[in-house]
């Protein structure tokens, strides 16, 4: 397979994955359907199933059409055209927007069946230690440190100028020199990403909010992700020593994509796709009045900083809490520093 075809396939893989998982976006919690609080057994009724089926069908069909258009553009456009680089990201955004619009349509259909359910929160009194998964996440700094040490020890074997980037045709178009930033840049970027993941894990498992036990269970996949990221940055850091070809790097990227998709699929499966069969564990305990456009939660009366999302998976901030803004600022600062470091 030539590098251009391989690069196209790699760009289309995440797109295909998102296209396939979109129909399940938005309703994985019992007691809430399309962002509307309903009785716990409502999701199992024929009306709810019908709205859910219609949403999944529409989202899947539109996403499939968008995927086909993106694939055609990608295949027909020249390898180095800026359009080819933008198409996957733009299509993902468009697919998410379409899913959101259909989700809002679903919410309108469900709203007449909304129910006033007590906002119940529960927790285990026996605290669960999170030290092990947090250490596992932070431990992914070790291979990065080992790579940095190896680069330092073999400093003289590193070429004075080495390839840093290739274009889609496999032609080198970016070089780095044997300098601190040129050699250790990827390792530092990897370390910062791992630190961000560790801080994120700490915040997820300690922030004030419901579903603490569920949040703590998310630490294991976070640790797995940290190790995947660290491994990837180790490979990138070792480029000047290993003299990797573009096709080898593409192969490594493909393996990583499959591993990340595998992890995501496992999470989707574990997160519960059928709101009808969810346990009370995943019950939402936020009032409908606190949600704006179904995705932003702002409730000054709620002390929780992290609350379960209503559209999508995972948790979101209660933007009425100052600590939510501080954490959001820290994430943006980290992202900005990563961009600067890579430049």
């Amino acid at each position: 397979m030539n590098p251009v075809t391989a690069a196209h396939l790699l760009a289309l893989l995440p797109l295909a994955f998102i296209t396939l998982s979109l129909p399940w976006l938005g309703q994985s919690r019992s007691g809430v359907l399309f962002g509307v609080t309903v009785s716990l057994d409502f999701a199992c009724t024929p009306q709810a199933r019908s709205v859910l089926r219609s949403y999944r069908r529409s989202v899947f069909l539109i996403a499939l059409v968008l995927f086909a258009i993106a694939a055609a553009i990608l295949w027909l456009s020249p390898a180095n055209s800026p359009a080819a680089a933008l198409v996957p990201g733009f299509t993902i955004l468009l697919e998410l927007l379409v899913a959101y619009l259909f989700w809002r349509r679903g919410a309108a259909a469900i709203r007449p069946h909304s129910a006033a359910i007590p906002l119940e929160r529960h927790t285990d009194l026996v605290p669960v230690s999170t030290a092990l998964p947090l250490l596992a996440t932070a431990g992914s700094l070790l291979p990065l440190a080992a790579t940095a040490l190896l680069l330092h020890l073999r400093w003289n074997q590193i070429p004075l100028r080495f390839v840093r980037h290739w274009n889609a045709s496999g032609v080198a178009n970016g070089w780095a020199t044997r300098s601190f930033s040129g050699v250790f840049g990827p390792i530092l970027a990897g370390a910062m990403t791992v630190l961000l993941l560790t801080l994120g894990s700490f915040f997820i498992s300690h922030a004030n909010g419901p579903q603490m036990s569920q949040r703590r269970r998310a630490l294991v996949p976070m640790a797995a992700l940290a190790w995947l990221v660290a491994g990837l940055f180790c490979v990138l850091g070792l480029r000047p020593l290993l003299h990797l070809t573009p096709s080898t790097l593409l192969l490594i990227a493909a393996v990583y994509l499959f591993l990340v998709f595998g992890l995501s699929l496992w999470l989707l499966r574990r997160g519960g796709l059928a709101p009808c069969s969810s346990t009370s564990e995943s019950y939402d305990s936020t009032p409908d009045s606190g949600w704006y456009a179904g995705i932003f939660y702002y409730n000054p009366a709620d002390a929780a900083v992290l609350v379960p999302k209503r559209f999508g998976w995972g948790w979101t901030f209660n933007f009425a809490r100052p600590s939510a803004w501080i954490y959001l600022g820290a994430i943006l600062l980290f992202a900005l520093s990563l961009t600067v470091l890579f430049k």
């Binding site: 007590p118 906002l119 119940e120 929160r121 529960h122 927790t123 285990d124 009194l125 026996v126 605290p127 669960v128 230690s129 092990l132 998964p133 300690h206 922030a207 004030n208 909010g209 419901p210 603490m212 294991v220 305990s285 009032p287 709620d302 002390a303 929780a304 609350v307």
Partner: protein
């Protein structure tokens, strides 16, 4: 026919890795296998949340599920797990401390005290309890629950020592 290989035939190099995997999984699972003692609060209930927390903890103490010497989470830990303000939990702990159920140890959390023998209630406490009970019965009757049902449930709760 080939017999399945015995564990001893497994290559030796894999054994430490398998042992390590087992230890990691065991260590992680053992943390999640702790006996479940749950407390629940209803945020939009007419009963204040601090009272719900205090009631839930007291019920666990009376029922013997929270034995004397048991360490409770710190105020901040419990508040974070429930998604409520830490002052709410602090108030609940204070109520239980005043009743003699808890020893508050600052940042180290709180410990359940040995309080199996009921203190001799004073007249004021008896009057307050009587008033609270009457209000509760009136509230339950207003919700359509029959006196027979209330009597039966009260008896069952007293006998089981659980809510």
């Amino acid at each position: 026919m080939q017999l399945p290989s015995s564990p001893s035939e497994k290559p030796e190099s894999e054994t430490p890795l398998l042992l390590l995997q087992f230890c990691i999984l065991y260590a992680y699972n053992i943390q999640n296998m702790a006996p479940s003692l749950q407390i629940r609060v209803v945020l939009d209930s007419p009963t204040p949340v601090y009272r719900q927390v205090a009631d839930a903890l007291r019920s666990l103490c009376v029922g013997g599920r929270l034995a004397p010497g048991t360490k409770l989470p710190t105020v901040r830990q419990l508040a974070a797990s429930l998604g409520i303000h830490f002052n709410t939990v602090a108030e609940a702990y204070r109520v239980l401390s005043d009743e003699g159920w808890l020893l508050i140890e600052g940042r180290r959390g709180a410990t359940i005290l040995d309080r199996q023998l009921p203190r001799k209630p004073n007249a004021t406490a008896q009057a307050a309890a009587s008033s609270r009970l009457r209000h509760l019965i009136a509230e339950l009757q207003a919700k359509g629950l029959s006196p027979d049902w209330i009597r039966h449930e009260t008896k069952a709760a007293l006998e089981s020592k659980l809510p």
